[in-house]
């Protein structure tokens, strides 16, 4: 996405509501798309998009107009999504249903993998700690570059790899406990 002019950023940083509205309209779709990939619930993603922009508006004085607004907004969005996952605000059943519905909407690469196995894998994934789940969702499911994930999580690419590694280990352990041996 093209970054708008620095002038708009400066006006926003000074508290201009019109500038904020322009930025909101320009970036709301991108931020929503990012959040929905993490929380996997369209309704919650809408709430979190508004929450993200509320945090952005409050933090406007700290924004450096010469920097990338999209990247900054994405970091704030990731933190909002992380807070949501940590708080357990997402209703487990609802999310799980969404995951399964989502899985059913695409034809699996291996039709031999049973629905029950997919359900157990999704459940094990839901039990991962929020920080690991976000890193694993973005890296393993969405297959996003580590650099991009690192920027959004405000950590190094090495730290992202470590979180993904830990997520895989925990997932393997949970699956083993559920009687699934990959």
């Amino acid at each position: 996405m093209l970054e708008p002019q620095t002038e708009l950023f400066e006006e926003f940083a000074q508290g201009d509501l019109e500038a904020f509205e322009k930025l909101f309209r320009q970036f709301q779709g991108e931020i929503y798309g990012w959040i929905v990939r993490i929380v996997r619930d369209p309704g919650v993603a809408e709430d979190l998009t508004v929450e993200t922009f509320w945090r952005i508006y409050r933090a406007r004085a700290r924004f450096d107009p010469s920097r990338n607004f999209g990247g900054w907004a994405r970091r704030i969005a990731t933190n909002a999504a992380l807070d949501c996952l940590k708080s357990g605000h997402l209703k487990h059943a609802r999310t799980e249903a969404f995951l399964l519905e989502d899985s059913a909407s695409v034809s699996p690469p291996n039709p031999g993998v049973q629905r029950d196995l997919r359900e157990r894998t999704a459940r094990a994934f839901q039990q991962l700690p929020a920080k690991l789940r976000i890193a694993a969702t973005l890296a393993l499911i969405e297959e996003m570059p580590y650099k991009e994930i690192a920027e959004a999580l405000d950590i190094s690419a090495g730290a992202v790899k470590l979180r993904v590694f830990r997520a895989l280990r925990l997932l393997r352990k949970s699956l083993k406990e559920m009687g699934v041996e990959p």
Binding site: Q28, L140, F165
Partner: protein, 72 residues
């Protein structure tokens, strides 16, 4: 990370949870405006604390009321 078993888990995961791309179906600006209005109408907690302190002070020292009114 690159162990074969990790790749198997990743493959299993991708079959359980598909990648997700969703577009925003409506403009969220009206909700944002509502949020901004709600917050601006909210009185910060320390204002309430100051008001409570002032009320307590006036209760215990009613003779301070004319002084306070004089300074307002």
């Amino acid at each position: 990370m690159n162990e074969p078993r990790d790749e198997e888990i990743q493959s299993l995961l991708k079959q359980a949870i598909a990648p997700l791309t969703r577009n925003l179906e409506r403009d969220l600006w009206p909700r944002m405006l509502q949020r901004l209005d709600e917050r601006s109408a909210t009185v910060p907690w320390f204002d309430w604390a100051l008001l409570a302190l002032l009320a307590l002070w006036l209760c215990f020292s009613p003779q301070a009321i004319p002084v306070l009114l004089y300074h307002l």
